[in-house]
């Protein structure tokens, strides 16, 4: 009986040793979070960011205008990874004319400088045809497809004439370029996962969600068992 208990004690000890070391090391590190600046250091490993669900962002709409990426997240419009202005309606397209980036919603045109600075929102009060369905270019001039037909203007965007044309280059949505997505992910989720968060989640098992908690429980039971078997053997030796 004593030999069997000793063998069980050894097996459990080997299994638990690694786990106890991990707990001890992470526990000591967490005790010195400030001194080690764990809350100011960031981990940006791709697998870790994906594990925490902060590696990617999903825009409602993306349009590539010249060298700039226009994207919409809810009511916020971004030029590249910089918040540019708020819009109340979904963006449906965009074009570039001369020194102007024009983004269309169904009820207005939103103008940006080539550097991406917001200029103005032009609605039908400024002469823009309402009920816009798409925006495109025809020989460098902006063209709007509306429910009421097709309209063409010049760079001032104040006078619109009704037309019927073919061969218009219509704006269409594009996938988000990876480089901008990385910057936007940083904008929304921060610089990455702090070392403190990572160590803490390792320490309490939550690094593997709810399974981690069960995993820890199993090891806790093993530690209890190893303590009991140790005590039992010690008691036997005393007799």
């Amino acid at each position: 009986m004593n030999r069997r208990m000793r063998s069980l004690h050894r097996s459990m000890g080997a299994l638990v040793a690694l786990f106890v070391m991990m707990l001890a090391i992470t526990g000591m590190m967490l005790n010195h979070t400030s001194e080690l600046k764990l809350d100011q250091r960031y981990l940006t490993w791709n697998w870790l960011l994906e594990h925490y669900g902060v590696a990617t962002v999903e825009a409602d709409a993306v349009f590539l205008l010249d060298q700039k990426v226009i994207s919409q997240f809810d009511k916020q419009l971004f030029v590249d990874a910089q918040p540019a202005t708020q819009v109340q309606r979904p963006i449906i397209g965009g074009v570039v004319i001369d020194a102007l980036m024009i983004v269309a919603t169904d009820d207005a045109l939103i103008l940006f400088s080539p550097e991406g600075e917001f200029i103005e929102r032009m609605s039908s009060a400024a002469g823009v045809p309402p009920m816009i369905q798409n925006i495109g270019l025809f020989h460098g001039d902006p063209v709007l497809q509306t429910r009421d037909g097709m309209w063409r203007s010049d760079f001032l965007l104040e006078q619109w004439e009704k037309i019927s044309l073919s061969g218009i280059s219509w704006s269409s949505p594009q996938p988000m370029p990876d480089s901008v997505e990385v910057d936007l992910a940083e904008y929304f989720h921060g610089k990455g996962i702090t070392v403190e968060t990572f160590i803490l989640d390792l320490h309490n098992g939550r690094i593997i969600d709810r399974f981690g908690v069960w995993f820890l429980d199993v090891f806790a039971v093993l530690i209890i068992l190893i303590s009991l078997t140790g005590l039992w053997m010690w008691a036997r030796q005393l007799r």
């Binding site: 202005t85 708020q86 917001f118 103005e120 609605s123 009060a125």
Partner: protein, 167 residues
């Protein structure tokens, strides 16, 4: 207990009802100019004007130009300012250095919608500039401090722009 729940629900309902578009820009302009809309004009926000506008608002104005409509000495400004988190759209009529009318066209905040009531907006009637401030004190509304501040700043801005466009 029931009455507390009822009052709470009522307050939530009122704050939700306060959100919305009360009048479109186009309808406000049509009403102001009796359906004879003048061609719009723009002011470019740059140089000293940029500095003055930023001072009046207390932050950088988000835009490079401001559009307005001018006819028979009356100018309409449709301007937006964030109350707490969301932009509030204001329609403002200026005439001969004074405020003729202020109206909340769209309110998107969860609180502070009381600023749309005429009982509040009529405080701005005939308001003028005194330096770069309003010539009067505007009484606040409990629970709508940020919205009141936004409206006061935007009315001051409209008067300043009115003056600027006459130079």
């Amino acid at each position: 207990m029931r009455s507390i729940v009822a009052i709470t629900l009522l307050m939530i309902a009122f704050s939700v009802f306060a959100r919305g578009v009360y009048q479109t820009d186009e309808a406000f302009l049509a009403e102001t100019f009796n359906n004879e809309l003048p061609k719009s004009q723009v002011v470019w926000v740059k140089g000293d004007l940029r500095k003055s506008i930023d001072d009046i608002l207390g932050h950088r104005y988000a835009g490079l130009r401001i559009r307005y409509w001018h006819k028979d000495g009356r100018k309409v400004w449709i301007l937006e300012e964030i109350g707490k988190e969301q932009p509030i759209t204001f329609g403002i009529i200026t005439a001969r250095d004074k405020i003729e009318k202020v109206k909340v066209l769209a309110f998107r905040e969860s609180r502070g919608g009381e600023i749309r009531y005429p009982a509040f907006t009529q405080q701005f009637d005939d308001a003028q500039l005194k330096g770069n401030d309003l010539d009067r004190h505007i009484d606040g509304i409990s629970g709508a401090t940020m919205s009141v501040r936004a409206m006061t700043a935007i009315v001051t801005l409209a008067l300043y722009l009115d003056k600027f466009t006459r130079q």
